[in-house]
């Protein structure tokens, strides 16, 4: 009996140990760092306890970064889910099995590209003088639209690249989930003369509720790590209009001031907010 009870711990032990080393150690280090006044230029530091956290809430740039991150989350998560579900339904309804395969392969390619490469490619594509995307506007109107020079234009452009990578990928996942559904409820709805959108609204999507919630949370967590995309495409600009929390933390830690303790306090706030927010969302949606 004893052996039977301890066996799960034997299997779980190594994995938990790796998890503790990989996750807990850097997290505790970041928390410890955030309670000090350490900078890159002065290795000697003192404990200032919560001073960094108090300073954050009177820092306009941090509050702006929080707001930008919130906008970014709502925009990219909702657009990714809408694009993913929309394309998946379109493929499910209109494409043959062969075309579904071909489109699935094509839709997976963007997410396989490293984010930095995708950001460079799209940044150049949106260039007002040479970009392929802006070419029709130049050719037809003679205008040179510079979308990255406007606060909302920059935000929407960077979000577009994010959705281009993840929305298409999610479309493939959702399509495969739909294909795996039992056909009987869908056939029953068709016999009852339900319209195409009604079948998905009332049958297929409710049946996929749990995997869709999982996808939504995965995307929400992924969207929080938008640093590479933002850094390459806008560096947080124009001004601070696309400066997300991770971009601001990096700026404070490494580009501008070397305030690594202050940057760590932002990282800790981000982590706490993420855990609280996603736990409550998960519980709410999972009811």
């Amino acid at each position: 009996m004893r052996v039977g009870r301890s066996l799960p711990y034997v299997f779980l032990g190594p994995a938990l140990l790796v998890l503790v080393i990989l996750a807990a150690v850097p997290t505790l280090y970041a928390v410890n760092l955030s309670l000090q006044n350490r900078t890159l230029s002065a290795p000697q530091a003192e404990y200032v306890w919560l001073a960094n956290y108090l300073k954050l809430f009177s820092d306009d740039r941090f509050l702006n970064a929080l707001w930008v991150s919130l906008k970014w989350e709502v925009l990219t998560v909702s657009a990714t889910m809408a694009v993913g579900i929309g394309l998946a339904i379109a493929m499910f309804e209109a494409a043959t099995r062969r075309w579904r395969m071909i489109l699935s392969v094509l839709f997976i390619i963007p997410v396989l590209l490293p984010r930095v490469c995708a950001a460079f490619v799209w940044k150049f594509s949106f260039h007002p003088l040479y970009g392929a995307v802006t070419w029709p506007v130049r050719a037809l109107t003679g205008q040179t639209p510079d979308v990255l020079a406007h606060p909302w234009g920059a935000m929407l452009t960077v979000a577009f690249v994010d959705v281009w990578q993840w929305g298409l990928f999610f479309a493939v996942i959702i399509l495969k989930l739909m294909e795996a559904l039992p056909p009987q409820p869908i056939e029953a709805a068709r016999i009852d003369k339900a319209k195409g959108w009604e079948i998905h609204r009332f049958v297929t999507l409710p049946m996929l509720k749990l995997p869709l919630i999982s996808l939504l949370l995965v995307k929400a967590i992924e969207s929080l790590r938008s640093f590479d995309l933002v850094y390459v495409m806008t560096r947080g600009g124009p001004g601070v209009s696309t400066e997300t929390l991770d971009m601001y933390a990096y700026s404070q830690g490494f580009i501008e001031a070397g305030n690594i303790s202050y940057a760590s306090s932002m990282a800790v706030i981000m982590m706490v907010l993420t855990v609280i927010l996603f736990t409550s969302i998960w519980k709410r949606l999972n009811k």
Partner: protein
């Protein structure tokens, strides 16, 4: 007495160097740098340095931001590198923190430090001492399209007023030509860098004689307004672009005139990088604009070189890596962005490669080059904050220049 002893020790080391050069280094040097074609080329000659000093070297490369972060972290803690790659932006921090030592006494005289471009030497100085030997850098050049100026019946402008008037006249977006290309992207090394000459030309100073902030002045307001006015004629894409975007627009034939960092001169004469090779002319910036001096180079680390002989060894590497011979090799390999010596700009090989016009302009612009940023460890923070505000002014998120400068002053006082 201690100083005398150090000097005597150093002399002994240098004499030993002459007599028995191979014994100056006891172990391989570790160098932290950022990727440069010239440094890749340098690694081909590691045997030459080994023969000269008795030891080899190993270079670790990181891109600019990572190199800055890593070198700060290394220098302030373990000190594992003998030679650091430093630049104009982090020199005050490295020098004032004692992480590097002045070159004086460790840079062998025969390598001719005075031959480096005057502008780069002024950037490499802090607190009256020279701290690094330049690998790349320079001041500013005015680069213009000879065909467009001739067609418009204009002479290359010599003053700021003539420059602005010529830009207005040559600005013809309907035919795909823009008057100028500026830098709008936020950053102390981006938009602020191109704004600095205007600030200085209008008499602006970062601090007064007592060290108090003095930048919030009529000079700053006028410089900013002039910069914003000029942006009406700047090529699309430069409002949030930096050196690459503005010089890219010029080299692709979309821009009539530009004042930019000196490496643009040779880049615009390189057929692999430029479509205006045959129709490009060069001159120093129009008066009263000074050149915005910048430089990157090698400095001797303090912590990893505790003994005088260690410092002499690192000094020998710094001198050898930036020597006339290495520069001649870079010129022969067609690496124009990494030339730093006056003797190179005036050499027959340089004139043959890039033309006499560029050679003369490079020599003249060195005398006009100044350190325009605030030489203080807090510059990065102040300069980058001003860069964000300036980008907002350029892209229209802000409109009140004076109120913006007031806000910057409040921020500066909190540093």
């Amino acid at each position: 007495m201690k100083h005398l002893f150090s000097t005597a020790s150093l002399l002994a080391v240098l004499m030993a160097t002459t007599a028995q050069a191979e014994s100056i280094c006891s172990s391989d040097l570790r160098v932290l740098a950022q990727p440069r074609d010239g440094l890749t080329l340098l690694e081909d000659y590691v045997d030459e340095f080994e023969e000269l000093s008795g030891a080899g070297f190993e270079i670790d490369y990181l891109n600019e931001n990572d190199r800055r972060a890593k070198s700060q972290a290394d220098a302030s803690t373990v000190g594992s590198y003998n030679v650091y790659y430093v630049d104009e932006a982090n020199l005050p921090l490295f020098a004032s923190s004692g992480w590097i030592v002045p070159l004086d006494g460790y840079y062998p005289a025969e390598y001719d430090y005075e031959d480096f471009d005057a502008g780069m030497r002024s950037v490499a100085s802090y607190d009256g001492k020279q701290w690094f030997a330049p690998i790349q850098g320079g001041g500013d050049l005015m680069v213009y399209r000879t065909d467009l100026l001739t067609a418009a019946g204009l002479e290359p402008p010599k003053t700021w007023e003539e420059y602005v008037a010529a830009i207005r006249k040559l600005h013809d977006p309907d035919n795909g030509v823009y008057g100028v290309a500026l830098r709008g992207q936020r950053g102390s090394g981006a938009n602020v860098w191109r704004w600095l000459p205007l600030f200085a030309a209008n008499g602006g100073k970062w601090t007064d004689e007592t060290g108090a902030f003095a930048f919030n002045s009529d000079a700053a307001v006028k410089a900013t307004e002039e910069y914003l006015e000029l942006f009406k004629y700047s090529a699309p894409g430069t409002q949030t672009g930096s050196f690459d975007e503005s010089t890219g627009a010029f080299r692709s034939g979309k821009v009539a005139m530009i004042v930019e960092s000196a490496p643009l001169g040779a880049m615009s004469k390189d057929p692999s990088q430029s479509r205006v090779v045959d129709v490009v002319g060069f001159a120093p910036p129009p008066t009263p604009l000074p050149g915005s001096g910048y430089a990157h180079g090698f400095a001797i680390a303090a912590k990893a070189n505790p003994e005088e002989q260690d410092k002499a060894c690192a000094g020998l590497f710094v001198a050898w890596a930036t020597s006339k011979e290495q520069e001649a090799r870079r010129l022969a390999k067609g690496q124009p962005g990494e030339l730093t010596r006056k003797s190179t700009y005036e050499s027959p090989e340089y004139v043959k490669t890039f033309g006499e016009n560029l050679s003369v302009a490079m020599a003249e612009t060195g005398a006009r080059t100044e350190v325009l940023f605030w030489q203080d460890p807090r510059w990065q923070e102040l300069g980058n904050t001003w860069g964000i505000m300036l980008e907002e002014l350029i892209t229209g998120s802000r409109t009140d220049v004076k109120a913006t400068l007031n806000e910057l002053e409040t921020f500066a006082k909190s540093l």
